[in-house]
């Protein structure tokens, strides 16, 4: 086996085993045919030094996404994984859209663009004290783009949604890198919560990557429930928003952003786990898996933000803040573990990828 073939077979490991069992040898033969040349020296060079081109790797990666995160005609297990990742992407963009809308509204409110309710003097004083960092400016610029990405996805404009989400992520990523570089160079960092910032960025990047599950075979998104969820989010979001403001004014943090996500995840998990027990709703396999997948980043954000509090001099952090954070961590684990067990049982119970019809058909003589 040449090095080139070995490398191409490594790329093919992205594909599900059941698919490889049917197609791998044929794909390898076709690939090696496509690299053939009459020049003996060049052929030898390609065989022992060549690599599959980026375009070839990308085509295999695209096929792997379509097969592993299945669409409407996929086997049930692949479809459940596809639905779960699509739900994670939708929930992620929904959270970004609600947060962005509330953030922009809050900025307009403090700037005096909204007539009601009047801005308390303490809030104005806080807004005027200390310049906005690059992180805040980056966030402000990208905020409306997250809303546009969410609406584009929900209304069926998938390609636009992917481009907009990528666009929204870029300035935040740049701001995070600049902030880290500042810290490394001994300049004042733009935020004292560096670990939290990077985990935030990583989670956003994963949400953008999850959009790959919206490929050509993915079923259409039903817009109504997601638009209702966005509206409900906007109605509920001022509650934690006001709590955050009061905490800053009082210099005592009891509920922070990771805390909100922890409470939301625990509530959603309990409803999902307990719903069928009280005979009210059935469980969709995609949701079991999606909630289990969502528990991981929420837990990571909760733990990392507590570490950041312990390592930095964040404003308003007291022992009670840390105690509440620990309770939230335990609650997320307590709900996340049964969700993961339920998701694993659900997925195991579903038929896995069936072999391609090509394998079941006998070639004609």
């Amino acid at each position: 086996m040449s090095v080139l073939e070995d490398r191409y077979r490594s790329v093919l490991r992205l594909l599900p085993p059941s698919y490889r069992a049917v197609w791998e040898d044929e794909m390898v033969a076709t690939f090696l045919d496509s690299t053939r040349t009459d020049d003996v020296e060049e052929a030898e060079h390609r065989a022992y030094c060549g690599r599959p081109s980026r375009a070839e790797v990308a085509s295999v990666a695209g096929l792997a996404v379509r097969l592993r995160l299945g669409g409407v005609d996929a086997p049930p297990r692949s479809f459940a994984w596809g639905e779960a990742v699509r739900l994670v992407a939708l929930v992620g963009l929904l959270v970004h859209a609600v947060t962005a809308t509330m953030g922009v509204s809050q900025e307009l409110w403090i700037a005096g663009w909204l007539a009601w309710p009047p801005v308390p003097g303490e809030v104005l004083a806080l807004a005027e004290s200390g310049p906005s960092g690059l992180w805040d400016i980056g966030w402000s610029l990208t905020a409306p783009v997250w809303v546009a990405a969410f609406l584009a996805l929900v209304l069926g404009h998938r390609r636009a949604a992917k481009m907009l989400a990528g666009l929204a992520l870029a300035p935040v990523a740049i701001a995070a890198m600049v902030s880290t570089a500042n810290l490394a160079l001994g300049r004042p960092p733009m935020t004292s919560l560096m670990l939290t910032m990077w985990v935030d960025l990583l989670i956003s990047a994963l949400v953008v990557l999850a959009l790959a599950a919206f490929h050509g075979d993915a079923p259409a998104v039903r817009p109504r429930p997601w638009l209702v969820a966005y509206a409900v989010g906007l109605v509920l979001a001022p509650v934690p928003g006001l709590v955050f403001l009061m905490q800053v004014i009082r210099d005592l943090m009891l509920l922070d952003r990771p805390g909100v996500w922890s409470v939301a995840l625990v509530a959603a998990g309990l409803v999902h786990l307990g719903g069928p027990a009280v005979g009210r709703v059935g469980r969709a396999p995609g949701w079991s898996l999606a909630l289990a997948l969502l528990a991981a980043p929420v837990l990571a954000l909760r733990i990392v933000s507590l570490l950041d509090y312990a390592l930095s001099d964040a404003v308003g952090v007291y022992p009670v803040t840390m105690a509440i954070g620990v309770v939230e961590t335990v609650a997320v684990i307590a709900v996340g573990v049964p969700l993961a067990v339920l998701a694993a049982q659900t997925v195991r119970g579903l038929p896995s990828a069936a072999p391609s019809p090509a394998a079941s058909q006998t070639p004609a003589p």
């Binding site: 044929e26 033969a29 045919d33 085509s59 096929l63 070639p363």
Partner: protein, 110 residues
Amino acid sequence: MTEQAFFILTALVDTPRHGYGIVGEVADISDGRVQLKVGTLYGVLDRLVGGGLVEPDREEVHQGRLRRYYRLTEQGRWTLAAEVERQAANARVAAKRLRAWRPATEGGAA
């Protein structure tokens, strides 16, 4: 029907072909515009086989490697013919409108 599926079906109209043969034929009939990568080819091919439009014809061993040939089924031929008719009808409508179009400065419909 995607453009790639259209060209793969077209490449199989006259004779059964193996994977690399399809790649070369598609490049030829599209004047080099559609260059199928292997992952893309087999992504489309397994769907066409699953949909009954294409079926395996025979297998050969060439230089120690498997070559599986594929041929168009009757259903594949009808489907391609229907797609050709649809695209031709679309092209006729567009061509008719383009012929009728005159810039506003020449007094035609703009």
